[in-house]
C-alpha cells in the first residue's frame, strides 16, 4: 500500500562485448520487491550472479537494462539529494567480515568516521558508539583494536551495527554468514532478526544456503540461468 518499497524492475546485466569477445549475460529481466520489515531471500548456486544483482540493487553497479525503484523513483532518474538519501537508506553487508573494515583503521576510528559523515557532533560520538556497542554485545575495548585483532563473528556484528548507525531502511545482505562457523552464523542470524523486528528494516538476503533463506525470508526467489523464479 503506502509501504515504501525497494523494487527491482526487469533488471538485466550483460557484460559488455569486447573487441574480440562476445558479451556474457549475467541475469535477465529480474523483478522483485523488498518491503520494509520483510526479508526477500535470493538463492542460487555460486556463479549465478546473485552478488552482482545485490550490488545492482544497492546501487553500487548499474544494470544494463531495467531499473531499481526506490520510493517509486527509478535510481537512474534520481536527483542528487535523492541519491544521497538513497545511499544512506539502502545499505549492503558483505560476506567476508574480515574485509569489512579498513585494516589500517582502528574500529573506533572507522565508526566515528561514519558518525562524522552523518553529521553527528564530535562530542556525541562516544555516547553514540557506546549505544551501538550495546546492540552488538561487544566490550568497549574493541574500539581500540584493529580489525585483524578481532574474530570474524565479532567483526560481522560490528559491520552490521556500523550499517545500522546510518539507520537504513533496506539492507542487502550478501552471504552474510557463509564465511562463519555454524555457531557464529546462528548468532548473526538472530541479531539480524532482532534488528528487523526493532527497526522494521527490509532485507534482501543473498545466500546459497537454502536453510538459511528459509529461516530468514518471508518470500524468496531462486536465481538460475539468469532467471529468477519467485517462491512465496
Amino acid at each position: 500500500m503506502f509501504s515504501i518499497s525497494l523494487r527491482a524492475d526487469r533488471l538485466s546485466k550483460t557484460y559488455e562485448a569486447g573487441l574480440l569477445s562476445t558479451g556474457k549475460c549475467i541475469f535477465r529481466e529480474v523483478s522483485f520487491e523488498i518491503r520494509s520489515g520483510k526479508t526477500f531471500g535470493l538463492m542460487g548456486s555460486s556463479g549465478e550472479g546473485k552478488s552482482t544483482l545485490g550490488r545492482v540493487v544497492a546501487g553500487l553497479e548499474k544494470a544494463t537494462t531495467g531499473s531499481v525503484y526506490y520510493k517509486g523513483t527509478p535510481l537512474t532518474l534520481m536527483k542528487k539529494n535523492e541519491k544521497i538519501a538513497f545511499r544512506r537508506k539502502v545499505q549492503i553487508m558483505f560476506q567476508d567480515p574480515t574485509d569489512a573494515f579498513n585494516p589500517r583503521k582502528k574500529i573506533g576510528h572507522a565508526i566515528s568516521e561514519v558518525l562524522a559523515l552523518l553529521g553527528v557532533p564530535e562530542a556525541r560520538h562516544s555516547s553514540k558508539t557506546e549505544e551501538m556497542l550495546i546492540t552488538t554485545g561487544l566490550p568497549k575495548e574493541v574500539l581500540s583494536r584493529y580489525p585483524s585483532q578481532i574474530s570474524g563473528g565479532q567483526l560481522q556484528r560490528l559491520a552490521l551495527s556500523r550499517i545500522l548507525l546510518l539507520d537504513p531502511e533496506y539492507i542487502v545482505l550478501d552471504e552474510p554468514t557463509s564465511a562463519l562457523d555454524v555457531s557464529v552464523q546462528a548468532q548473526i542470524l538472530h541479531m539480524l532478526k532482532e534488528v528487523q523486528t526493532e527497526r522494521n528494516t527490509g532485507y534482501l538476503l543473498i545466500s546459497h544456503d537454502e536453510i538459511v533463506i528459509r529461516f530468514m525470508s518471508d518470500s524468496y526467489g531462486v536465481l538460475e540461468n539468469g532467471q529468477l523464479k519467485i517462491i512465496e
Partner: protein, 315 residues
C-alpha cells in the same frame, strides 16, 4: 580476446607516440646543429653554413620536416649522421649487433644467476648464505654502475691482469672477443642479476606461502623439488615482466660500462650523439631502443601468456 586487442592498441599508440616524441625531442635541444657539424677552431663563412642548413632541412617548416621524416622512416632511412659520416641505420646496426650481444648475454646471465640465487635466498631466507647473498646484492644494486665497472676493471684487469682493459677484441676472432667481453659482461650481469635477485627473492618468499607449495610438500615432494618444480615457475612470472622493463634500462645502463671498457657500442654512440647534438643519430637510436623495448615487452606478454595459463583461460 579483448585483452589482446587492447594490448595491441596500446602498443600501436606507444609506437605512434614514440615516433612523435622521437621527432620532436632532438629538435628541442639547444645549440645550432650546423655549427656543430664544423670542427673546433675553424672559421667558416655564413653562406657555407646556410648551404649546410638547407641540406639538413632545418629551415623548412616543422610539418614538412615531419612528413619527410615519416616517409624516410617507412623507407627505413633513418637519416645521415654528419658527425660520423655514415647513414644512421648502418651505424646503428653496426653497433646494435655488438651491444645486443653484450647486453643480451649479460641480461641472460643476470636473469639466470639472479633468479637462481634469489630463489635459493628466498626459499631459506634465514640461512647465513642467503643473508650474505641478499646483503651483497642489495649493496650491488645501490652502487652506481660506473663505480662498479671501474673497480672491477681496476681489480681484474689492472691488479690481477686477467683481462684486457678495452675494446671488443684485439683481433676479430671468437677467443679474443670472449676474453675482452668477459669482464664487461660480468659487471653487467652482476648489475642485472642484482635487480633480478631482489625481485625473485621477494617473489619466492611470497609464493612459498601459497597453499600449493604446502600441498606439494604434502604430496611427498622433497624440499628442493618443491622450490624448483613448483615455486620457481610461479615466482618467475614477475621476472619476465621485469626483464622486459629492464631491457631499455640495461641498454642505456650499458652506456657507463661501455665508456669504462672503451667499447664501441650503442651506449657510447648515443652518448656521443647527445653530446655532439647529432640529431639524426639521436633520433635513430631512440627509435631503435624504444622499438627494442616495445618488442621486449610484447615478447614478455607473449611469454607470460604461455607460462601463465590464467591469461589464456578458454571460454
Amino acid at each position: 580476446m579483448s585483452g589482446i586487442a587492447r594490448k595491441g592498441t596500446r602498443y600501436l599508440t606507444s609506437l605512434v607516440l614514440i615516433i612523435i616524441i622521437n621527432f620532436t625531442l632532438p629538435r628541442l635541444m639547444p645549440g645550432d646543429p650546423v655549427k656543430n657539424l664544423i670542427g673546433e677552431d675553424v672559421y667558416v663563412s655564413e653562406n657555407v653554413m646556410e648551404e649546410l642548413r638547407a641540406k639538413l632541412g632545418l629551415d623548412r617548416p616543422l610539418y614538412e620536416q615531419f612528413t619527410s621524416f615519416l616517409s624516410d622512416l617507412l623507407h627505413l632511412d633513418l637519416g645521415y649522421s654528419y658527425h660520423l659520416h655514415a647513414p644512421v641505420a648502418e651505424l646503428l646496426l653496426d653497433r646494435l649487433g655488438w651491444t645486443l650481444l653484450f647486453v643480451g648475454v649479460s641480461a641472460a646471465i643476470g636473469a639466470f644467476m639472479g633468479s637462481l640465487l634469489g630463489a635459493l635466498a628466498g626459499w631459506r631466507p634465514e640461512k647465513k648464505t642467503s643473508r650474505f647473498t641478499g646483503l651483497a646484492f642489495v649493496v650491488l644494486s645501490c652502487t652506481p654502475p660506473y663505480f662498479l665497472a671501474l673497480l672491477s676493471l681496476y681489480l681484474f684487469s689492472f691488479r690481477l691482469g686477467f683481462f684486457p682493459s678495452k675494446g671488443f677484441y684485439d683481433a676479430p676472432e671468437i677467443g679474443s672477443i670472449l676474453h675482452h667481453l668477459f669482464l664487461p659482461v660480468c659487471v653487467m650481469s652482476v648489475f642485472s642479476a642484482s635487480r633480478n635477485f631482489l625481485v625473485m627473492r621477494g617473489s619466492v618468499i611470497q609464493e612459498k606461502e601459497q597453499l600449493y607449495a604446502l600441498y606439494a610438500r604434502a604430496k611427498g615432494l622433497k624440499d628442493i623439488s618443491i622450490l624448483f618444480r613448483h615455486i620457481i615457475k610461479n615466482a618467475s612470472l614477475p621476472i619476465i615482466t621485469l626483464l622486459a622493463l629492464d631491457f631499455g634500462f640495461l641498454f642505456s645502463g650499458a652506456l657507463f660500462i661501455e665508456i669504462i671498457f672503451s667499447l664501441n657500442g650503442m651506449g657510447t654512440l648515443i652518448y656521443g650523439a647527445i653530446i655532439g647534438k647529432d640529431y639524426p643519430l639521436l633520433q635513430g637510436a631512440f627509435l631503435v631502443i624504444a622499438l627494442t623495448a616495445l618488442i621486449a615487452n610484447m615478447l614478455a606478454d607473449l611469454l607470460y601468456g604461455l607460462i601463465d595459463p590464467r591469461v589464456r583461460r578458454p571460454a
